[in-house]
Symmetry: C2
């Protein structure tokens, strides 16, 4: 470890005795050939300039830390470097080198994770409607009265859920048999059912599928299974409210939710309308805010499925326009969701998309792929041209330097979702995540969690952990973390006035955290260091 | 597939009827906000500009193809797109998504591979002395007279080899028992021994180690096992000559070999000196050139181990200086080898390295790591500051935009070794190899194979195959391949006069290949298409 991080010390052993400009100049002039006529001292001077230049371009470099933040930074970096050192000595023990399914619990025990959990991380700007809550909460939902389950394989495989007073008449995707959930639970045994659902409601244990397509198949299957459980109007409301609670407990103060805005159903089978779904979100957000005045709030991005014909997108645009008139600022934008590689590229939908009213922002998924030079990664170009405010994933962005440059100059933030990219098999080792290059070049980014429910992760902390420890440079510190939090407000769909309030609410939490992390945590750490 | 590659077609369906500048201008002005006031036609015009701008920065974009090359390009691209399409439809079937050990034979059956094999690829600029030849050749060497083997575990595990008239007295790394190779073979059975050695001389079947450190351990173990077999002077000569033959058969015309330049031994145990080793290389190169006048030649880079004290590097520099005086142009440069993460960083050796005479180039390994922000990836900065002519691997370069910029402006080529990076566990899926970003930004690169013997790969074709199909954009074509070949000469250690001869020799082969690929191959392909 000492080998890796103390170049500074080493350089100092050779360090210039005086910083005469002359030697530096001399070094600079001959640089394009070699520096072999120079002295080690002059070499070190020039090296320092270059290293600084290299680092100065990185995300967070220019963030200022006050005295308290500087103290907190020391506490955090001590933990971070400890985990890095462990990994450096034995890379097999470095959590970000592994699949989250293999290290979830270990990560949760980490002190760095504990610090990040309490850190006020700002908002989640990329997350999907029915993939937010903990599996435990989902299982609790299955105890609600009037729930039916539809199974195949002699009652062994759950295909669908439905709340109903009578046996549901609706058909599920496969041919299956409906029975009351309580009977199913009795018949199979409560413990077995819980175990079974615990697995079915997530991507576990599949850390490795034959391809990302298969991962996506499984992933979409969970959404479909959950539909009947969550699309019951009162459950939809409770699910969302609980999500906000879980967010808050994870140090998150704001949510910009992408939702399909499906038509919900009532216990008598009656179908509600799309504006009812949005109304539920609005009501629950207001209720939550009333109970939690330190919370910033939530906004909606209407994000229906992309695997459709252009005329369907025309309908989406009409719906979105109508919803905007009814819900105003609560609905901030539009996106299209589903596996980008199998759906249609944005260029197919240009005509309807250009009709979207100017007051509805685009927040397009783009470049969530490792194919290079296809219509999929060229979605990045269309997203930018269509004036997207942020880019969802942008995994392929580093392969498009011009698009990356445009993101910087047009101030488009990339919503980086590290864990999602791993579970959906775009990459494995967090150290190779392309966001490292975005960080190195200071492309604006936010860290998001996409569908934390399906990987049993916390709403945001796991993603912060892997980004901070695995993707960012070893030296990335509180400046980096602070900028991530600030960005999640600056690049949100909040209005300028709302942003100003949001910043105050975040700052209040941040200031509290500073006191905690420099006081309590430091004492705890000292205590731990003493006994280890 | 059509979905992925025909955006052009789609865009044409919306395509502008007239290319009035007015609509384009209008589009451009409002771009920083959104283009929603514009027409789909104007949008498509602007999109074309952006896509072109994005692509125009890529490696090989400006290469010109003549008529014959254009025809050959069509043949190649037809095959490439066929393999891409297969992968796109089922990513589990896409060879560059897998570990080479799982797809080696399948790749060798590919028509694209066959084309790349015959393609005159120029030179190999990054390869190591005892990791060049096929395993079959190594096994043939074990039939030479007077070879002894040292084994442990009741003769089950080979530890060392040695040519000797008498039982060797030298100690191997572990305590082991010497016996004549012929007796060992008789005792264990020829087939078993062949099978055993076939495995021991390579990294197979280990497609997955617990970490890259473990992969390196195994890797270094093969080098050590081979020492006694190859460091016998006549064998050393034959091994190298055979390597040149295998290179030639693989469409390679030039080699810039990194060698430890070990002291070789004679059958009577006498140790030769470092200049004898170099003399063998020189003599064999001359002999090979005489037999193969269309071959360009070979040069040496003295590349001893990096895991040493600074005073040892001082000795390296002295040795290298003396060798340069004796061998002139044949010895072009200096490097340090061994796992960069465990060896010392270049900054430790600045004092001795600055003493290297100006006529000896540096070709440093740097950034062969996925750690970010450590002394390891900062080797990139030192390599550049020390005036390196090329960078070995540079896997971490994309995390250092300033260093990447310097590579472009100072014309430093990155020696990209795709298969090596995979086997030594820096990454898995070729589509995520960071060289994609280098290609996108037109950082000068060459493709090399590092240690093809240990992965049973062809001297260069497998690396070309994975780079062309897996790393480069889908549209990368013969322009890309041609520039790789040209770069391997431009960025070599050949003198300007030698380069001019080299270019002629390469051009002659290239012209021949054009005829073959546009005639024979095309007919074969037509025939195959007809019967499929």
């Amino acid at each position: 470890m000492s080998m890796a991080f103390n170049w500074r010390l080493r350089c100092q052993t050779l360090r210039f005795m005086s910083k005469e400009l002359s030697s530096y100049k001399h070094a600079k002039i001959s640089m394009s050939k070699t520096l072999r006529n120079t002295t080690p001292e002059a070499y070190c001077t020039l090296r320092e300039v270059l290293v600084k230049q290299d680092r100065a371009q990185a995300f967070g470099y220019n963030v200022q830390l006050n005295e308290k933040e500087t103290a907190a930074n020391e506490v955090i970096m001590k933990q971070k470097l400890r985990e890095l050192e462990k990994g450096f000595l034995d890379p097999a023990k470095f959590a970000p080198g592994h699949h989250i399914f293999e290290v979830l619990k270990e990560v949760e025990k980490s002190k760095l994770f504990a610090m990040l959990k309490t850190m006020p991380k700002g908002g989640i700007l990329h997350a999907h409607d029915t993939a937010l809550c903990s599996t435990e909460f989902l299982i609790r939902l299955t105890y609600r009265p009037d729930l039916w389950i539809c199974t195949t394989d002699d009652g062994c495989k759950a295909i669908a859920f439905r709340f109903s007073k009578e046996q549901p008449t609706m058909k599920a995707l496969s041919d299956c048999n409906w029975e009351p959930m309580c009977e199913f639970r009795q018949r199979r045994g409560e413990e077995n059912v819980t175990k079974y659902l615990y697995r079915r409601f997530s991507m576990y244990p599949y850390a490795s599928f034959a391809s990302n397509n298969e991962a996506w198949n499984h992933f979409m299957g969970i959404f479909m299974l959950l539909d009947g459980l969550l699309m019951h109007a009162p459950v939809w409301a409770d699910y969302y409210y609980n999500a906000l609670q879980e967010l808050k407990a994870d140090g998150v103060q704001y949510l910009e939710l992408r939702s399909l805005l499906p038509d919900l159903y009532c216990i008598d089978g009656q179908q509600l309308k799309i504006n009812d779904t949005l109304a539920i979100y609005k009501t629950q957000t207001d209720a939550f805010l009333q109970q939690n005045p330190d919370f910033i709030g939530a906004k909606l991005i209407y994000a229906p499925l992309r695997g459709v014909e252009p005329q369907v997108v025309e309908e989406y645009v009409q719906k979105c326009t109508a919803l905007k008139q009814e819900f105003g600022d609560f609905l901030v934008g539009f996106d299209l969701v589903g596996q980008e590689e199998l759906g249609r590229p944005l260029i197919d939908f240009i005509e309807p998309l250009l009709k979207m009213p100017e007051d509805i922002n685009f927040y397009f998924h783009a470049g969530e792929t490792n194919w290079f030079g296809t219509s999929i990664d060229e979605n990045l170009i269309d997203a930018i041209l269509l004036g997207t405010k942020r880019i969802g994933h942008g995994f392929a962005l580093v392969k498009h330097p011009f698009a990356m440059e445009l993101c910087k100059s047009l101030n488009i933030a990339v919503e980086v979702c590290p864990v999602s990219n791993q579970v959906l098999q775009l990459g494995r080792d967090y150290r190779n995540h392309p966001a490292a290059t975005l960080i190195a070049q200071s492309v604006p980014i936010v860290i998001s969690s996409d569908d934390p429910s399906f990987w049993r992760a916390s709403p945001l902390t796991h993603d912060f952990y892997f980004a901070f420890l695995g993707i960012a440079p070893a030296r990335a510190n509180l400046k980096f973390l602070k900028l991530l939090a600030l960005n999640s407000i600056s690049y949100s769909g909040l209005s300028p006035e709302e942003k100003s309030v949001a910043m105050q609410k975040w700052q209040a939490q941040w200031d509290k955290w500073m006191i905690i992390s420099t006081a309590v945590v430091y004492i705890v750490l000292l205590f731990i260091s003493a006994i280890v």
